[in-house]
């Protein structure tokens, strides 16, 4: 089932077309900015994070993963009023980690993706929390129930997002 150890040769590597590479992250950032106005509960989701994880695990290239995460994160930062780099650093780490793990694990199954998303959501939040408190000096509140709920919600949405990404990814 879910997560199985595989050798690098057994894992398939995918790529995305240029329109998909540019439009999907842009759409994710756009929806993340627009949907909370209509559906306030949507702020618990982090669509750009899910896209970062999806791209990283499909490409299975740490370099591509960290660069994708970096660009998406910085784009997301640019829409907030906080200094640019908070989401950038967090998503760089997630992109690198997800793609590195994607080489070693089979993450084609929904269960594996669910767990993977929860883990990387937690990594993302911890990195963001540390940077924003330690470097920027923001007052941050860490509430376990909220983080747990957000992690599960993002994992559930992540499974759907990965299914959509499966449709546009191309085998190399």
């Amino acid at each position: 089932m879910a997560i199985t150890y595989t050798s690098g040769e057994q894992v398939e590597v995918y790529r995305f077309s240029i329109p998909a590479t540019t439009l999907i992250p842009l759409t994710a950032v756009f929806l993340q900015a627009w949907l909370p106005l209509r559906f306030p509960f949507f702020t618990i989701f982090d669509l750009p994070l899910l896209v970062t994880i999806g791209f990283a695990t499909a490409r299975r290239s740490p370099l591509a993963g960290l660069l994708t995460g970096s660009v998406i994160g910085i784009l997301q930062d640019a829409l907030t009023h906080h200094p640019i780099g908070l989401y950038g650093i967090s998503k760089t780490v997630v992109g690198f980690g997800a793609s590195s793990l994607g080489i070693k694990l089979d993450v084609e199954h929904a269960g594996a993706r669910f767990l993977l998303t929860i883990v990387f959501y937690a990594v993302h939040e911890v990195v963001y929390f540390m940077i924003s408190r330690g470097l920027v000096g923001l007052r941050m509140a860490w509430t376990w129930p909220h983080e747990l709920l957000s992690g599960v919600a993002n994992a559930m949405l992540g499974v759907l997002v990965f299914m959509l990404l499966d449709r546009v990814k191309q085998r190399t």
């Binding site: 306030p40 829409l79 009023h81």
Partner: protein
């Protein structure tokens, strides 16, 4: 070289992270209000907001067609209710305008400078930051519409936030529930002042109110005007919970009057004017006269109220027309205690030096302005207080002030 090739990914990761941390450190160090907007923000906003504008336009257009042409159920009943409401409010307005006139006269005496919103611009909320930790929204008005940083953003319900960054056709508004926002606020009844801040959890708290003060839940919170952004007196919200906080201050939670999670249209305050209050009618009125009108007194006798050849200072009610010269019928002055009260304070309300002197002593520097504003030869009164001794003085402390 092998080492470099082997750890290439790790080296790139460290390099990218280091560059971002460095950039972050520079931004944190240079964060000032006068800092120009970074190009990357302009690009990001330019990429996202046009689509948001289109979507909002489509949404409002279709919603408008549906609500204005198809879904008209209950409109007649609503119209009837609204008409009744207008009638009730008209009556209320008359009463309030009288109070307002009184307030203006008092303000004129004190040379009170009031701030008022003289120009606003309606704007549509088109997007948000998309982050729980950055509570800000984007509106569809920007530099080309005359929007500038630090302008107040409000709704009919209450204040919303302030303009943080301005782009060509959009602006970013920092909401009052963001942890980096701060609004000067005052409690309506207790008149305690504090600073309104957002919390990381998105709540709004009033800080810097001493813990020995009594603040009841449900009290209204208004802007104090101390922040230089929001004019004084705008509704912020209501106190929901009061608890002892850290150190010497109370932890006061406030529920914002405006629903910050469902903002659609807002008003940007593009101009705030400051003017000195002037009474509508230029009657020479003293503070004591105005106060006396509100207090119960013993009616004076009709024969003493007005002399036959003297136009009496009429003040049966506290409307602005009271100050106009009017010959009052004996019945009117006999029946109205306010006429007697006016008479009692007549010496200082006559135009001339007496009026100026009295104002000068009671209102300090405002005397000149107030005297100018009220220096019309409106009221002729008898030179000595008629029946002043017979009328109980409602405000002896003020009346007996040294003037």
């Amino acid at each position: 070289m092998d080492v470099l090739g082997r750890y290439r990914n790790l080296i790139v990761l460290v390099g990218v992270l280091f560059a971002q941390v460095l950039g972050l450190a520079v931004q944190v160090r240079r964060t000032t209000d006068s800092e120009p907007t970074r190009l990357i923000r302009i690009w990001a906003v330019g990429a996202v907001t046009p689509l948001e504008k289109v979507l909002v336009w489509v949404q409002t257009s279709t919603g408008g067609v549906w609500h204005n042409y198809f879904y008209l159920r209950g409109v007649r009943a609503e119209n009837r209710n609204l008409k009744q409401q207008i009638e009730r409010m008209s009556l209320e307005q008359v009463r309030m305008s009288q109070d307002a006139d009184q307030a203006r006269r008092l303000q004129a005496l004190l040379a009170f400078k009031e701030q008022f919103i003289s120009r606003t611009m309606a704007a549509q909320v088109i997007g948000s930051s998309g982050s729980e930790l950055s509570r800000s929204v984007y509106i569809d008005k920007g530099e080309s519409d005359g929007i500038k940083p630090d302008m107040a953003v409000i709704t009919a319900e209450g204040i919303v936030g302030k303009v943080l960054r301005v782009y060509r056709s959009t602006s970013q508004v920092l909401l009052i529930d963001d942890q980096t926002s701060g609004v000067g606020a005052i409690l309506d009844k207790t008149r305690l002042q504090g600073i309104l801040r957002g919390t990381p959890a998105g709540e709004v708290v009033l800080e810097k109110v001493m813990s020995d003060e009594a603040v009841p839940a449900g009290e209204m919170v208004l802007t104090s005007g101390g922040d230089g952004i929001f004019p004084k007196g705008l509704l912020v919200g209501r106190v929901t919970k009061v608890a002892p906080g850290n150190e010497l201050f109370l932890n006061i939670r406030v529920r914002p009057a405006a629903d910050l999670s469902k903002l659609e249209e807002v008003l940007v305050v593009t101009r705030i004017d400051e003017r000195q209050a002037q009474p509508d009618q230029a009657g020479a009125a003293r503070a004591v006269d105005i106060l006396a009108e509100r207090l119960p007194t013993v009616p004076s006798k009709p024969e003493n109220a007005v002399k036959a050849d003297t136009p009496a200072p009429v003040a049966p009610s506290n409307t602005s027309s009271d100050a106009k010269p009017k010959a009052v019928s004996p019945e009117a002055s006999a029946g109205g205690a306010p006429a007697a009260r006016k008479t009692a304070s007549s010496p200082s309300s006559s135009p001339g030096s007496a009026s100026a002197t009295s104002l000068g002593t009671s209102a300090g520097t405002s005397s000149g302005n107030a005297a100018t504003a009220t220096g019309t030869p409106a009221m002729k009164v008898s030179p000595k207080p008629v029946k002043a001794a017979e009328t109980p003085k409602p405000q002896p402390a003020v009346e007996d002030s040294p003037h």
